[in-house]
Amino acid sequence: MQKIMVCIKRVVDYNVRIRVKPDGSGVILDGVKMSVNPFDEIALEEALRIKERGANIEVVAVSIGVADTQQQLRTALAMGADRAVLVQTDAAVEPLTAAKVFLALAKKENPDLIFLGKQAIDDDANQTGQMLAAIWDRPQATYASKVEIAADKASITREVDAGLETIEVDLPAVVTVDLRLNEPRYVKLPDIMKAKKKPLEVTALEALGVSAAAQLRSVKTEPPAQRQKGVMVKDVAELVEALKKKGLI
């Protein structure tokens, strides 16, 4: 194992209450706090733990996004990534496009493992890792809650609807991570200072020979249907009455 690539997406912070623009053209992003996608922090943490167990593994954080995505990559460097690559574009990048960009980077970097989040909490697509594995023609292990590396293989426990499933994959492989894989470390101030000196390379998306053209067109964005506010009952007996009245018990 020599190199691990980790995909880090810049997204609206998960604590932000999303509001839809009145004209339906999208959600309000002006002045909204942006962060590393929570799943991607977990992905990076796992890569760092593997690095800390083994010897001489390079962890490369990569992202596709606007110029300001450098902030999230600096966070990744502060957490412990060795270097970062930003594939810069102002276009909204679809998962298939992201997968093609990551494939181009994988061909250049030759990582043994690529970690991604299981989903980005903005588009909630849950696609990119699987697509990358397909076009890279390598194994995919999605929704990982445990990762064990043994030479040229990895044993991955996956969170599936029925419980937990374990698969074994040959390396190189793509792993997408679930929430319970680990708890990401906090970044300390000295690490932020150190991160400023770490290499962060910026390239244009077009320079990788990938087109950002979208296949899907967003027609409009709306707020979800609101639920009616219900009734408050004062004790358990009233609760049982209320449920009986609704024909639920």
Binding site: N126, A134, T142, E165, R180, R217, G230, M232, V236
Partner: protein
């Protein structure tokens, strides 16, 4: 006419109810002709069940030993071969479908629409983004194949009453060996299934321990309900991961959902938006769960739950 291929989900014996929900979704496409593909080592049972769904034209069986476990890397190239004859390919947005469908889409060099919740046309759909806090209408290019996952909580299961033709297919596709199934640890199955149960009771961090969490099972048994949990309860080890409800757990649409000691974080609410009636018991009257609850009770769960268990079903 639109020829739609649905990727059937099954456990080797029975068809998963998610497949019947995909059928209902597919019927929303104008002039739909629906085929279900079932891949497995021996799919006789699931194929027969798929053929019995009303509105299904045909069922394709692809039986081979490599298909014993649903590995995306093994299934995707076979489905890519089958997909040639279809304009749309749908799979359920279960862990099976979410894992598999994007791999298939990428092999076909097309994008995927995730979590279809409503069909507005053959190439126009609505889907949730930002944990369901916004709904986007998307239009896909009709000159390409349309690959999608279906948000199963948004659709009723198609009823039985069909009698589709079942055809066994032999595909000349070479399969990778780089991915191998090792084993699974699944929960006990003597309780109603969380994803299809009409009633669900979920517990949160407030339960405090795995031991306390068990008190919910008594209530659930009385109601014939499935049991779910918040992420906090799962993370703390009170309940196994397959019980998690929410953005990163299961998205469910029961008749009645009872949230006990759950604050109502947006990521949790994402999973229960489609519940017909939401009941909440929380000791904090300001908890956000009360903003969506149809019936709310401010109470200490350690008193309310035993009392409720006693009062329901006559003691």
């Amino acid at each position: 006419m639109h020829k739609i291929l649905i990727v059937g989900e099954h456990d080797g014996k029975a068809l998963n109810p998610a497949t019947a929900k995909c059928v209902t979704c597919a019927k929303g496409i104008p002039d739909a002709e629906i085929t279900i593909a079932v891949l497995g080592a021996d799919t006789a049972g699931p194929a027969a069940q798929a053929a019995a769904l009303a509105g299904v034209k045909s069922v394709l069986r692809v039986d081979r030993p490599e298909n014993l476990h649903p590995l995306a890397a093994v299934f995707a190239p076979q489905l890519a071969a089958l997909a040639a004859d279809y304009s749309h390919v749908f799979g359920p947005s279960t862990s099976f479908g979410k894992d598999l469908m994007p791999r298939l889409a990428a092999l076909l060099d097309v994008g995927q629409v995730s979590d279809l919740m409503a069909i507005d046309g053959a190439y126009r759909f609505r889907r949730p983004i930002y944990a369901g806090n916004a709904i986007v209408t998307v239009e896909a290019d009709p000159s390409r194949k349309l690959i999608a996952t279906v948000r199963v909580a948004s659709f009723q299961a198609a009823p039985a009453g069909g009698s589709a033709a079942v055809e066994s297919k032999t595909l000349n596709v070479s399969l990778p060996t780089h991915t191998r199934y090792v084993g699974a640890k699944t929960g006990s199955t003597d309780r109603p299934d969380l994803q299809t149960a009409a009633r669900v009771i979920s517990g949160g961090r407030a339960l405090g321990s795995a031991e306390n969490f068990k008190m919910l099972f008594g209530l659930a048994d009385k109601l014939g309900a499935a049991v779910g949990a918040s992420r906090a309860a799962v993370d703390a080890g009170y309940a196994p991961n397959e019980m998690q409800v929410g953005q990163t757990g299961k998205i469910i649409s029961p008749e009645m959902y009872i949230a006990i000691g759950i604050s109502g974080a947006i990521q949790h609410l994402t999973g229960i938006k489609d519940a017909r009636t939401i009941v909440a018991i929380n000791k904090d009257g300001e908890a956000p769960i009360f903003e969506v609850a149809d019936v709310g009770l401010v109470a200490d769960l350690f008193q309310a739950v035993p009392e409720l268990t006693k009062l329901i079903g006559g003691g």
